[in-house]
């Protein structure tokens, strides 16, 4: 049977590594360069601001722009999406002595929670698994949190540069010396349009990659510096909506079971979440591992189907959909972490490096913590006479991460996700055992299979997707519209893909993509790149996402 990995995309990491070409005196220089204005990157920028506040001599030496944060979206928050229930631990540490909890932009505290096993008509309440306890945590919109963190970072002295993707890693003599930013104003065929503006080389003393899931340069760096972990990374795709509701929801809800199928041959791992955001908003989403096999599976349509369940329908009754979005989540956990999180001049943090606790559905506080630790390691390499390229200069980052709660948490739950490769029931039993023994049983690390190596099967799954009614259920195109995506139509395609593929692979991609980028065509697959919301699913399942022109893509505000 066909596998997507039979048709690899025309991607070579080496194409995205280059030596700087700008003459020295024209080069843009910054002190610490952070790629990505998400929770990891902004926490790094905020922590650096705090450290530099007390070290004016170091700050002086970093020049006009001590800390710069590059963001490919239109503004910080535009490309941020999550559930989210946030563990405030890392934020507390970051803002210790400077802010109180109620100054943080959370929408509400988690007071009640429930976990349900769904069947097509019923919802069976289950005891909350220990890994999913959420007391003391807060519901938040990650996009809003990002916007807030960006303001804090700017107040701390960081320069945030939106609409600026980092497309190449600048490496000189085996050391990361900065990044090259993306061109603007190219036509579909790559030609330079009238207002063409080439990207620029940005040199930095330390480069921190905080690009989030499927980070472009993170992937390039893992290749270039041989940093891959012992097991390959795997991902899940989450598609979510935000609704204005008539009746406030009083609890944080997680579900498993329907509409996913338990049989091992389908490999459908995941579930849904429904969170209240204050009294008048509810956010809900469907998250499914991309190791699924069925050609007809569509996470967006599963979300639409989920909404027809009596439990969910009731929550949304009288309401109105006001936001939609999609993003992947790294799910490999501990065994998929890079074997080293730094290289000369380079640090990796957040989702990009894979710091996500799948059984607890948490990654934001790890992003903030690792971003903060990266700042501390970078700072230590900025002292007089120091460079970040001296062997061992950034070693303190790895050491700090290994000593942190991030490492401890992830180690404890390692293998849980991989266990579910054996099907829901076996996986559930194994996960239970792992929880009970805090990760000591079963022994040995389970092998992780790549998403792209899964053999495809075909069932009649699409037959039960609801036809969009425009009130409760919606089609993909109107959802892409709601995400605020207004990408220029004649941009060059940013998706690397093998075009001549058999129909089942084309259909796999067409259904997989929540934004209707792919379509089955006569000779393989057709691509409409301007629909892309940069979720990253294609990279997990046979293609390669690279950053398009800066400012393109969704403009999330509530996700």
């Amino acid at each position: 049977m066909t596998k997507p990995s039979d048709f690899p995309p025309p991607f070579r990491a080496a194409d995205y590594v280059a030596a700087p070409t700008t003459p020295d005196d024209e080069l843009i220089r910054v002190g610490v360069l952070i790629v990505g204005a998400g929770p990891a990157g902004l926490a790094c920028a905020i922590r650096l601001g705090q450290l530099l506040e007390d070290a004016p001599d170091v700050r002086e030496r970093l020049g006009d722009v001590p800390v710069a944060v590059l963001e490919k979206g239109r503004s910080p928050g535009s490309h941020l999406l999550s559930g989210a229930v946030v563990n405030p631990r890392a934020l507390r540490r970051l803002f210790k002595g400077r802010k109180t909890m109620d100054e943080l932009p959370f929408t509400s505290r988690v007071d009640h929670e429930a976990v349900y096993m769904l069947t097509p008509k019923r919802a069976i309440r289950l005891p909350t698994p220990p890994t999913m306890r959420n007391d003391g945590n807060y519901v938040a919109s990650l996009s809003q949190l990002g916007r807030w963190l960006a303001e804090e970072a700017e107040q701390g002295g960081a320069m945030i540069l939106p609409e600026t993707p980092a497309t190449k890693l600048l490496v000189d003599g085996g050391r990361v010396v900065g990044v090259r930013t993306g061109d603007k104003g190219r036509g579909r065929d790559g030609s330079e349009l009238g207002n063409f503006e080439p990207g620029a080389d940005v040199a930095a003393r330390v480069t921190v990659l905080a690009e989030g899931t499927q980070g472009h340069l993170t992937g390039v760096a893992l290749e270039r510096f041989g940093l891959h972990g012992e097991h390959p990374q795997v991902w899940a795709l989450g598609v979510k909506e935000v609704w204005k509701v008539a009746t406030p929801l009083d609890r944080v809800i997680h579900t498993m079971g329907w509409p996913l199928r338990a049989g091992a041959k389908y490999r459908e791992f995941g579930g849904s979440f429904v969170y209240p955001m204050g009294d008048d908003l509810v956010t809900l989403g469907m998250v499914v591992g991309l190791d699924y096999r069925d050609v007809e599976l569509s996470v967006h349509d599963l979300l639409q189907e989920l909404k027809t369940h009596p439990l969910i329908r009731k929550i949304l009754e009288g309401g109105e959909r006001i936001a939609w979005g999609a993003k992947t989540i790294p799910e490999g956990g501990f065994v998929a972490l890079p074997r080293r999180m730094h290289a000369p001049g380079l640090l990796l943090c957040g989702d990009g490096a894979g710091f996500v606790n799948v059984p607890a559905l948490k990654g934001i506080h790890y992003a903030i913590e690792t971003g903060s630790l990266a700042a501390e390691a970078a700072f230590s390499a900025l002292g007089r006479g120091e460079t970040s390229w001296r062997p061992g200069a950034l070693e303190s980052y790895d050491a700090a991460v290994r000593k942190s709660f991030v490492w401890k948490d992830l180690k404890e739950v390692r293998n849980m996700r991989q266990a579910f490769g054996r099907g829901f029931w076996v996986g559930g039993a194994m996960a239970g055992a792992m929880s009970a023994t805090k990760g000591h049983f079963p022994h040995g690390d389970k092998a992780t299979e790549r998403d792209v190596d899964q053999e495809l099967v075909r069932t009649d799954r699409a037959a039960s997707y609801p036809a969009p009614d425009g009130t409760l259920t919606f089609d993909k195109l109107s959802s892409v519209f709601l995400s605020g995506n207004r990408t220029r139509d004649d941009e060059p395609s940013h998706i690397l893909l093998h075009r001549e593929v058999p129909p089942e692979v084309a259909e796999l991609w067409a259904r997989m993509c929540p934004a209707q980028v792919y379509e089955v065509a006569d000779d393989g697959v057709a691509v409409t790149p301007s629909n892309c919301v940069q979720c990253g699913a294609i990279t997990a399942k046979g293609g390669r996402l690279t950053p398009p022109e800066g400012g393109s893509g969704p403009e999330y505000t509530l996700t």
């Binding site: 843009i28 722009v65 710069a68 239109r74 503004s75 320069m159 540069l161 600026t164 930013t181 603007k184 104003g185 349009l193 009238g194 207002n195 503006e197 990207g199 620029a200 940005v202 605020g484 403009e555 505000t557």
Partner: protein
Amino acid sequence: MKIAVCIKQVPEGAKRIDPATRRLDRSGEGALNSFDANAVEEALRLKDAAGEGEVAVVSLGPAKAQDALRKALAMGADRALLVCDEGAAGSDLLATSAVLARALEREDAALVLFGQQSGDGDGAVLAAAVADRLHRPMVSQAAEVTRSDDKLRVKRQTEFGYDVIEVPLPAVVAVSDAINEPRYPSLKGIMGAKSKPQDVVSLADLGVDAGQAGEEGSHTEVLALRDPPARGDSRKLEDDGTAAAQVVDFLVEKRLL
């Protein structure tokens, strides 16, 4: 030659009217009005062609209109002026043009440029009102502008095609989006924008009387909001060979034929 460009920050994404204030909800993200980007671009081109001069961008708005001003500075404008005053909130065309005219008198530019219209009001009227207050000649819908000494030759786009109009400086010109493709700011430009001069002034600084601005200075008002009328019954028919004839009848009925 000094060129002043009037710009506006408009709400981004889906726009909505706040039923409480009956005004456009400007609380979300904003962006430089796309037609104003054309105006900034044209100013920069005229400056480049002349090999000298200064481009100042002027805006009347709340504090966050600085974002739009900074975008213009990143593109290459030299200076920014923001007129920011609570008393100017809720200004209609009359009040807005009064405040802007005063700010522009202070700037004393040889050429004042506007974008043809704004994405949030679509009026295509501001330039003419300001020009009258400044007692300056005005051309709108400019699809091409060329300068020779103290005169401008403007191609104006109308319903009937293109007029060619000559106007001496000082003048006011509103540019259409057909005039150029605005440049993307370079990274250096974006980073350098912060350190370019940016002034913020109040109505008092401009010598504008409170009664001339804001709701007091406006002579129009919003009375109520309504749902638009329903489109009416929509008809659907299957073609059995006569569909074309039925469409003709329909068009005649609607007085479109």
